[in-house]
Symmetry: C2
Subunit: 348 residues, 2 copies
């Protein structure tokens, strides 16, 4: 791996992944869930804060108004579109994620659809734009963080305006007082510190939609938008770590490897496990699926004999999408779901 630059390190020191041993929790505790904040965590005075929704009419709501609306709580696995970026060669310069940019929370709030229906939309409506209070410069353009969804996606029943995470008010870093949660999509879609929702008659062409988060090989390509999460599986590394290398050391005998797998494209169909760096694969045992939008648990009983191993797992979804062994390259470093590998030395 070519050395990480100061700019990349500054991002890595601010934003953080989920340590892989936290895969043991079906719902990720606050502070272990991954975070990617483009600009700064804004300083929001909740008494002053309002959500403005502009469709055929304009609605203005405070947090109490939102809490009095129908309530929906969903466990949702969220992953950063840049997860896996640091393994690409050459490495696109941005947040240098390895594998850990994921987490699952119980997001509590109110569904978006009834609110949009109340605001209404005309025949020409095509998209819904979500604007956050976080502001900065990206790609040379000063901007509030903004992303749009097609009207069809925005009207899905499970799209949520969340004011709670794991049963408590949103922490500042996860979007207090309100954020969008779009199950199945990469995290950039789930706009934090939400302040405005606008029904649009034309596709949104702001920076985070038209420039960033597109799959392309060359700068001047239009590319295709990054949207739904492609399948991935990760597992709790067995044994104990070496501080610096994070290589693992385990004792001989049975190790029950526990992991989780998810896909925004279709439900998880299978997970396979390998102890020889992907040369041979064995089926893992799947836990029941606990709701479509949260990761699915799995386990593999490994009879470990003394020696050196490279452990890895590979998920496939019901759409036939499967994790590759080698990462496909793209300019922005998105959607790299190549299999995780973990080096383990087993001793007597």
């Amino acid at each position: 791996m070519e050395g990480i630059s100061l700019e990349e390190l500054q991002l890595a020191a601010r934003n953080h992944g989920m340590p892989l041993e936290a895969l043991r929790y079906p719902v990720t505790p606050v502070g272990l869930h991954y975070l990617l904040i483009h600009f700064d965590v804004p300083d929001v005075d909740v008494d002053e804060w309002r959500l403005t929704v502009r469709g055929e009419q304009e609605l203005t709501l405070d947090l109490d108004d939102l809490k009095q609306r129908p309530r929906l709580e969903l466990a949702v696995t969220m992953e950063c579109a840049g997860n896996g970026r640091a393994w690409l060669d050459p490495r696109p310069t941005s947040q240098p994620w390895l594998l850990e940019a994921v987490g699952t929370a119980r997001w509590g709030g109110t569904p978006l659809r009834p609110l949009l229906e109340e605001a209404g939309w005309g025949k020409g409506a095509v998209e819904v734009l979500f604007t956050g209070l976080d502001r900065g410069i990206d790609g040379g353009i000063e901007q509030s963080y903004e992303r749009a969804l097609s009207l069809e996606e925005a009207l899905r029943d499970e799209v949520l305006l969340a004011y709670e995470m794991n049963g408590a008010p949103l922490p500042p870093q996860h979007g207090f007082p309100l954020r969008l949660v779009v199950p199945g999509w990469y995290g950039m879609t789930s706009v934090k510190w939400l302040s405005e929702i606008d029904v649009l008659d034309e596709p949104f062409d702001g920076y985070q939609q038209a420039q960033a988060y597109r799959m392309r090989q060359e700068e001047d390509e239009e590319g295709t938008p990054v949207e739904r999460i492609v399948p991935r599986s990760l597992f709790v590394p067995p044994g104990i770590p070496e501080f610096l290398s994070r290589d693992r050391h385990a004792e001989a005998g049975e190790h029950v490897i526990e992991g989780r797998a998810w896909s925004g494209l279709a439900p998880i169909a299978s997970v396979e496990f390998s102890t020889d760096d992907g040369s041979t694969w064995q089926p893992a045992e799947l836990d029941p699926q606990e709701g479509r939008w949260a990761w699915r648990g799995w386990r593999y009983r490994w009879q470990a004999e003394p020696g050196s191993y490279v452990l890895c797992s590979r998920a496939r979804d019901e759409g036939g999408n499967e994790q590759p062994l080698d990462p496909p390259w793209n300019l922005g470093g998105y959607s790299n779901n190549a299999v995780q590998t973990v080096n383990v030395t087993v001793s007597d």
Copy 2:
């Protein structure tokens, strides 16, 4: 800066700093407080968990026993001894902290001293050893994470066995169900996932005490132990950030720069602010000190005119200890409290 290695990046992706805008909170929200975990977050079953204290007699306590003891809550600023390491040249290989390895929490629990007094100690007692449940390999040695304090330090009134952080049970990553909190000392002393406390008749010579966390210039030096936090000040960067460089862009006019300063050696005496990279300094205004062990707020009213600036701040404590402009080098990369610099472009 020479490129960061994969090993350093792996640590940076697991452990995280406090984004500097979070300096606005006198008590750092959970998930924004810095984290440094040497090995893995252990999986603790609180029903099985016990604290064993071995002095002249052996005490065994569960979490309810601890909660029934006298209660103490203290706001404590904690900082990693490796904060600032990544600025050193050559850079010691470990967690590559820039500036953000700090946070302040309200730690709630029971004072250590009465528990030690109950266990008792003999005439020969010199140190108290604290053992955590986190286990791994460091410096080639398999170990539980362990650190000792002199008996005198361990008996300070403000040394705490904490089972709460900011009014809630400790999160897993901060040491659930119980951790040590030693106000004024770098974080490595405040052992997480505490399981054993042993009064020792001889100085502890385990890896984290005798090898790591010592100030030395050469490998074969004995060096001096890293203990109390040297003074540092940090501030909320004004204006808005550029995503990648984190350089700031602000409008002309008055900016009230808000910062915090702390020292484990003595109370903060003064903070100075510079807009020209430390060539000239102006006094900042100090907030009242809210208790000895939490950082002290300060502010500086900056009349910003169009141009380019390098902002920095420098704290001095009542012991006369002051932040240097250039980082002093040492082999482990500890205690680098050189002044923070922030690049700002001010436009009309």
